[in-house]
Symmetry: C2
Subunit: 451 residues, 2 copies
């Protein structure tokens, strides 16, 4: 029952496509889960994927389309006529339908919307398109189940049966009052075991009931569902009217994308790239930070130039430039990573920022002492001169402490300025710490050697 | 209905604790969600948290305990007697109970287990303790709902009502045959709308039915639930007998911890630290990579030393050491980040590894040409000598291309060796690229200047 895409499977399929064995292909693929089909489609040439797609029932292919990588879907969709896209949208849940429509150009959107069969579905999808994709409104679907607080259980079951036709996965019934305002929820479990004439009023749950507003950010929605262990959450508009629901599978995607984005930012990649992205996009996403790093390197060269005379007399000073900049960078990246993660999990609620910087300074002092002693000892051991040992020991200590503090402080400042603090880890910290480290190193050298 | 923990709220609570106003505290906190209570408890002094804890009903505090940070929970639990811990375990779901027990010392475990009131619950929890915490067995709970394939719907509802008392959240009924083997599932929705005398045999679902084995890794479980958009998944033993289920909330925690761990590894932090970790633990988690970086720095110094003579004649060569090492590091980190993410999302299934390294080389060539021209131009502009410009331009190009390839290649090798490739990003790549970059730089310098 576990499907695993193998090279052999793909080769078999490719041969069948080559020979247009449509019945064989149908048999091979029609029972698969949409997510597995998506895997297969994005590993085929686009033309082949379209051929396979057209052979299979739309209920499966529409969902498979939504499970594909953005770039693979984009190229496949280029082979679709507006009618074909409209058919897919007609089948998809409103949230996926809106996402799919959102990927089209403005003209294509109009043409496709005009061709959607079910006018109510089309209207719902168009309504969802108005929301920013990074908000609860952008995540929600209009497929949900609602019950009126005045109904008895037996009427509720009858009404729900009608509604449930459109809703794939039902976990919870949302309860509304006469004014259509959301007042609570009812778990299917509770409904299943209730006596038929019980009133919803006496059965529904509202203690610690959680919902979100259409304009809440998707990060907030994810945080809330994660914190309260929810599998779905209702969405209300500004008048507290129920307008949609968000299910946990979409939020898991948000959480994973967010983590991926942070990881990329911290690695100096400025837009979402995947291994499948082309060379141009890949270069574009990487060049900004490389150029900033280059500028930092040029600035560093000018700082060192000031101490040209010292280097001429003591070339050994130059030997340890990489050691100083690397250590400054490493310590800074560590500090900022801890603070960035703390910010993400809201660990600094109550003025513990000052405490955190104090602690980073403490860690910096401990690590600094250890590094200084090691390098001083190393220099002594290889018979380096005393001045060099002192310069290395003293500057390394100062650099480590300052880099630790700066590394903690920069993301906190960025966060205050409403800039994503994940920017701080990686190249930004390394570049600024390089410059800081070199400056300290050569100032210390100047004083030690002239003492 | 949205609770937000504020400074004022905390201060009010602290004053009430000071004055032992137990009724006020009960009123303030007893209606809160366990997750919010956990937030409050971990922001109080441990003694105060214990005081508050003892005032509140166990149903809430037991769950709140499990929602706290590991370290805050650990210190709070030190104030608990074995009887008190056994009471909490008696209330908790088996998966949480096993996690809690797992945190105790071996002696404490025995003492606590002996004091658990419900012997069946105790046996279930002890059974779960046998599984590795990073496997499906370690994640699962024994609270689930099962139906026999031979039952009619009405009998099923009666039986489920009995079972459901112990199960907080019910999404799906698992269907077993006479031999207790798992054969499929039944959604509550389907059960709710079915005629009373329908047989489960004719109603249950098994197409694309997903389950996991107790020994599957938690990463595989998370990948599966994410891929197939599941809210719960059943767990079977080696004989295909149903033994537990895993719910999505626990898997969301796995996903987030995994992302956090990758981010920390990539930032050179070798064990899980939180901002609240103490200075000792924080230092210990950071020192390994700092020392490796230091060793790299020492090695770099010996490489540069070989070229002491060149630097004495041309001190300007030393100016650009930081530029070379920084660029090599930045490019390498970017390449490895893309590959690490690709590996995590299984993008390199079909021999596309060679392709990926080829693409990184292409990106390296483009970025390398741009960087080389800029730096050559800069040197020309500020009137630097031609040899320096040539050295910089040529070596920067080679360094960028090689760093890009190495950055992509190292995580692929680590992955083949079954080492977490996230190790590759961050300090490991930076350190090796520093050494590579310097070597190339000075070799090029040697040839250019002696030409």
């Amino acid at each position: 029952m576990k499907f695993e895409l193998t090279k052999e499977f793909l080769e078999q399929l490719q041969a069948q496509i080559q020979n247009q064995k449509s019945t064989d292909i149908f048999q091979l693929l029609s029972e698969l889960h949409a997510a597995d089909l998506a895997d297969i489609l994005q590993n085929l040439e686009t033309d082949d994927a379209k051929y396979v797609h057209d052979l299979l029932p739309e209920e499966v292919t529409a969902e498979a389309l939504m499970e594909m990588d953005d770039e693979a879907r984009e190229s496949l969709l280029k082979l679709f006529s507006p009618e074909e896209i409209a058919e897919q949208i007609n089948i998809l849940d409103t949230d996926d339908a809106a996402d799919l429509l959102g990927e089209l150009s403005e003209e294509d959107k109009d043409e496709v919307i005009a061709k959607i069969e079910d006018p109510e579905h089309a209207a719902d999808v168009e309504e969802l398109l108005k929301f920013d994709e990074d908000t609860a409104g952008g995540l929600m679907q209009t497929e949900y189940i609602q019950a009126s607080i005045d109904w008895p259980v037996n009427r509720c079951v009858v009404e729900l049966r009608k509604q449930a036709e459109d809703v794939q996965k039902v976990y919870t019934v949302y309860v509304v009052n006469e004014a259509d305002e959301l007042v609570g929820y009812l778990s299917l479990k509770r409904l299943l075991f209730a006596a038929p004439n019980t009133l919803i009023k006496d059965l529904y749950q509202h203690k610690n009931f959680k919902f979100v507003k259409t304009y809440d950010s998707s990060e907030d929605v994810a945080g809330m569902m994660e914190k309260y262990d929810l599998v779905s959450i209702p969405v209300v508009d500004r008048q507290n009217k129920l307008v949609g629901r968000i299910t946990i599978d979409d939020v898991v995607d948000v959480i994973m994308e967010e983590a991926e984005k942070d990881f990329q930012l911290a690695s100096g990649i400025s837009e979402n790239v995947e291994p499948s992205s082309n060379v141009f996009k890949s270069t574009r996403s990487r060049l900004p930070w490389i150029l900033i790093g280059l500028a930092g390197g040029v600035l560093s060269s000018q700082i060192i130039k000031v101490y040209e005379y010292e280097i001429e007399i003591n070339p050994a000073l130059a030997f340890f430039i990489p050691l100083i900049v690397a250590t400054a960078g490493n310590i800074g990246v560590q500090s900022s990573a801890i603070v960035v993660q703390g910010l993400a999990s809201k660990d600094f609620q109550f003025g513990s920022i000052v405490k955190q910087i104090g602690k980073e300074a403490m860690v910096g002092i401990v690590v600094g002492v250890i590094c200084s002693l090691i390098i001083f000892g190393f220099n002594f051991m290889i018979g380096g001169d005393m001045n060099l040992g002192l310069t290395l020991g003293i500057s390394l200590f100062i650099v480590v402490v300052m880099a630790a503090v700066l590394g903690a402080w920069i993301p906190l400042v960025l966060d205050k300025l409403k800039i994503d603090p994940a920017l701080a880890t990686g190249p930004f910290i390394t570049t600024s710490n390089d410059i800081l480290g070199l400056t300290i190193y050569f100032i210390v050298a100047y004083f030690v050697y002239s003492a």
